[in-house]
Amino acid sequence: MLDAKVPDGPMAEKWTRHKFNMKLVNPANKRKFSVIVVGTGLAGASAAASLSEMGYKVKSFCFQDSPRRAHSIAAQGGINAAKNYPNDGDSVHRLFYDTVKGGDYRSREANVHRLAEVSVNIIDQCVAQGVPFAREYGGYLDNRSFGGAQVSRTFYARGQTGQQLLLGAYSALMKESANGNVDLYTRREMLDLIVVDGRAVGIVVRNLISGKIESHTADAVILATGGYGNVFYLSTNAMGSNVTAAWRAHRRGAYFANPCYTQIHPTCIPVHGDFQSKLTLMSESLRNDGRIWVPRKQGDTRRASEIPEEERNYYLEEKYPSFGNLVPRDVASRNAKEWCDKGFGVGSTGTAVYLDFRDAIKRDGEDTIREKYGNLFDMYERIVDDNPYQMPMMIYPAVHYTMGGLWVDYNLMSNLDGLHVLGEANFSDHGANRLGASALMQGLADGYFVIPYTLGDYIAKAGPAGIGVDHPEVKAVEEQVKARIDRLVNSKGSKTVDEYHRELGLIMWNKCGMARNESDLKEALEEIPELRAEFHENMNVTGSPGNFNQVLERAGRVSDFFEFAETMVRDALERSESCGGHFREESQTDEGEALRKDDTFCHVSAWEYKGPDKEPALHKEPLNFEEVALTQRSYK
C-alpha cells in the first residue's frame, strides 16, 4: 500500500506542524552526511545550493557542460506566487484552489497547499539573489495575469523568467562550490541507481567526455532530472532532455506515477519538415490579443489576407463564448487538432491554425502590439520568415511538459528509501494538467523550501548509509551499466538512432498524443515492442564507448524511451477517463468536452517495474479532497 505520509491536521497547518515534528540533524553533524543531486535545473540547483548551505556535503551532476544550461532556462512566461501585491484578492488558499482545480483534481491536496504556502518565499529569495524581475516605476515588483488566471500573481523577468531564476539558482550553487561544499560534476550522465538493502545510496554515471564509468555513493540521492516529453521525439524540451535517470530508478524499484499525463501547449511554431529536430514554444500570452481561426472551406489554399471575414471560422470564440481564445491549454490544443484532422488546417503541411493579430493591431495600433509581443514576433519571424504584423501567425500544439513522474510521498521521497525526486521529475503537484507559470514555482519550492527540511528528517532517522564505491553491489551495478553500453555500441545496423526515435515519437504522437482511444493505445502497445526489438537489432552506433560519443548518448536515451513508452501507453490505456491533459475519446460529454470519472479514477496510478518484457504492476494511491470540492470543468 502506498503511504503518502500526509501529516494530520487542518490543511493550512499540515506543513507547519510537520516541520515541527521532524527530527533535526545537529548542525555539527551535517557535514558528515553527503547527498547526491542529479540535475541542475531549478529544482536540482536550488536543492544542491540549499543543502550545501546547511552543511551537507553535496555532489551535483549534470549532463550539460555547465549547470547553467538546464532546460528550466527556456521557460518564458513567469512564476506564480500568492503574494497578493496587486491587492486583487489572491491568497495562499486561492493559489492552492486554482492549482488543484487546474490540475483537474488529480493532484495531492496537501502537496499543492504547501506549494502555495512557500510560493511567497521563493520570490523573496530570488529578489535577494539579484534576479531582475520586472518592476513598476515606483520600484516595486510588477505582476501580470497569466494563462487565464483571474488574479495577477505572476512575477516575470521580460520573456526570460526561467533563465533568470535558473541563473539565480546557478549562482547560489556556484557560491557553494566556491565554499568547497559542493562538488560539481558536469558532462556526466546518470545511467543507473545504486540500491543496497532497499536504500538508494548512489549513482553510476558516464563521463561524457572520457567515456569513463564512475560510481558515486552518498547518504541520500535526489533526482531532479526533468520530464520525459522527448518520448514524442518532437517537443519543446531541449534535445538532451531524457527519461533515463527516472527510468533507471524505476527499474531499480521506484514507482512511476501517472506517466500518461502530458501537457500539449497550444501556441507553438508548427512542424516544417522531416528534418525538424525540435519545436519552439511561444508564450501563451499571445492568446490575450490574437484570435485563432481556420478557413470555413476545407483545404482552402488562399492566403490568409484573401479570406474574407465571413469565411473565417473563429472556432474557440464560437464554441466557448465566455472564455473564447483564453480557454485552458488542453482545450485549445484539442480543438486545433480537431479542425486540422477534419482538413481545415492551414500552411504547407495542413497542420496549423492561424493566430491573427489583425484586429488587435487595428484596435491598439502596431506600436502597442510590438511593445507587448515584439520579442515573440521577432522570434517567429526568425524561424518562419513571415512577418506576423502583416500575416497571421501559424501555430500548432506541441508537447511541452509532463505532469507524471516518479511517485513521491509528502516528503518528496519515492517508495525507495533515500531516493528523493524533485521538480518535473516527480508527479505530485500538478495533477493531470499544469497551470501556466507553475512549473518554475514547483521546481524552486521543492529545492529551496521543501527538501532542505524533509531530507534532514530522513537523514536524522536513517543515519549514515556507510556504502563506499568498492562495495560489491556498487561494482555489480557498474558492470551492468558497462554491459549495457557494450550492447549499444556493438549494434551495427543500417538505421540511425534518430530515425528510430522519430518513429517512436510518431507512434506516441498519433496514438498517445492529444486525444487517445482504446484501439489506438492497444495498437501502440503492439507496435512499440516490435519497433524496440528492431531498434536494438538494426540501429547503428558509430564510434567507441571510450570517448565523447554523442550517438552513444542518444542511443542510451532512446533505448530507455522505448521501454518507458510502453508504460506510458499502458497507463493511458488503463485510465479510461478524460482528465486534464489526458483526453480519452471514449470519455467525453455530449458536447465533446473531457469527462472525468471520479468514482473510478480519483487516484494516482503508480506503476511498479516487474522485469524486462513483463507487465508492470499498478498501485493506486487514492486521492481525497478535503478542501476543494470536485466539479467538472466548464469553459462555455
Binding site: R69, I73, Q129, G139, A157, Q163, Q164, F548
Partner: protein, 253 residues
C-alpha cells in the same frame, strides 16, 4: 515560407580529442530545406555520416531555441554566423545560397580548449562565476521582496546585463580572446541592484582576477564581442566593470 532546397559544402574542423591535431574535412550537404535551422543542416550531414558508419560531427547544443547558450561555432569567420543577435541554433539556412561553401570552426581561445570537433570546454566561465558572480544570501535569509525598492531604470539595466547566456561568442570573436564582456555583464547586473552592493568591490576584483587566471586576454575595445553577442550585450558593461574596478582603488566593501 520559402520551402526551397539548397546544396552547400561544409568545411568543418574535425579534431578527435583535446590533444589531437585537428584538420578541416569537407562534406556536401545536399537538398537542405531553407526552412531548416543551421543545426538541423548539420543533423542531416551527420545522418549521412552515421549511415556510412563514420563518426558524425560533434557539436554542443541543447535547447535549440537560443537561450541555453550551449551551441556555437564560427561560421565563415563570424561567431554564431551571419545573422546578428542570433545563436547558431536560431540561424536558418535561408541565410545561405545554393552552392555556398561554409567554413565551420570551433570557438578558438586558450581558455576554451577544443574537446572534440566543434565542442569546446567552457568551464572557465563557470569558474569566473564561482569567483564572485553571486550574491551571498542563503536560502531563508531573504527579507520580503518589497523590503527594498529598486528603481525601474536600474532593474531594467540589470536585466539587460543578466540576459547573457554564457555561450562564449564574445571570447570567440574577440581578437584578444577576452572574456571581458561576459565577466562585465555579471558584474554590472549586480552593481545595478541594491542587493549586490555589499560585495560589489570584492566581486569585481575576484572576478577579474579569475578571468586573468583562466588565460583570457584583455579588452582593447574592438567591439567584436558586442557584434557577436546573440543577446546584444553592450560594451557599456565593460565600461561599468572598469568603473567598478576603479572604485576598489578608493573604497572597500
Amino acid at each position: 515560407m520559402a520551402g526551397n532546397t539548397i546544396n552547400v559544402t561544409l568545411k568543418v574542423w574535425r579534431q578527435a580529442d583535446k590533444n589531437a591535431k585537428g584538420a578541416f574535412a569537407s562534406y556536401n550537404a545536399k537538398s537542405i530545406s531553407t526552412d531548416a535551422s543551421f543545426l538541423e543542416m548539420i543533423d542531416v550531414v551527420n545522418t549521412g555520416l552515421e549511415k556510412e558508419d563514420k563518426e558524425p560531427i560533434v557539436f554542443d547544443h541543447d535547447c535549440r531555441e537560443g537561450i541555453c547558450g550551449m551551441c556555437g561555432a564560427v561560421v565563415n569567420g563570424v561567431a554564431h554566423g551571419p545573422q546578428s543577435a542570433t545563436t547558431l541554433c536560431q540561424l536558418h539556412m535561408r541565410k545561405f545560397s545554393d552552392g555556398d561553401t561554409i567554413v565551420l570552426e570551433p570557438w578558438r581561445a586558450s581558455a576554451f580548449p577544443v574537446i572534440k570537433d566543434l565542442a569546446v570546454d567552457r568551464s572557465s566561465f563557470d569558474r569566473i562565476i564561482e569567483a564572485g558572480g553571486y550574491i551571498s544570501v542563503k536560502t531563508g535569509q531573504a527579507p520580503d521582496a518589497h523590503a527594498v525598492v529598486v528603481p525601474k531604470v536600474k532593474s531594467d539595466a540589470a536585466m539587460d546585463a543578466a540576459s547573457c547566456i554564457g555561450c562564449g561568442a564574445c571570447v570567440a570573436a574577440c581578437p584578444n580572446a577576452s572574456a571581458s564582456l561576459f565577466t562585465a555583464a555579471k558584474i554590472t547586473q549586480f552593481a545595478k541592484l541594491p542587493q549586490g552592493d555589499p560585495e560589489r568591490r570584492s566581486r569585481v576584483v575576484a572576478m577579474v582576477d579569475q578571468m586573468d587566471h583562466e588565460g583570457f586576454g584583455s579588452c582593447s575595445k574592438h567591439y567584436e564581442c558586442e557584434a557577436a553577442c546573440p543577446k546584444e550585450i553592450k560594451v557599456e558593461n565593460i565600461t561599468n566593470m572598469n568603473r567598478e574596478y576603479m572604485r576598489t582603488l578608493v573604497t572597500r566593501d
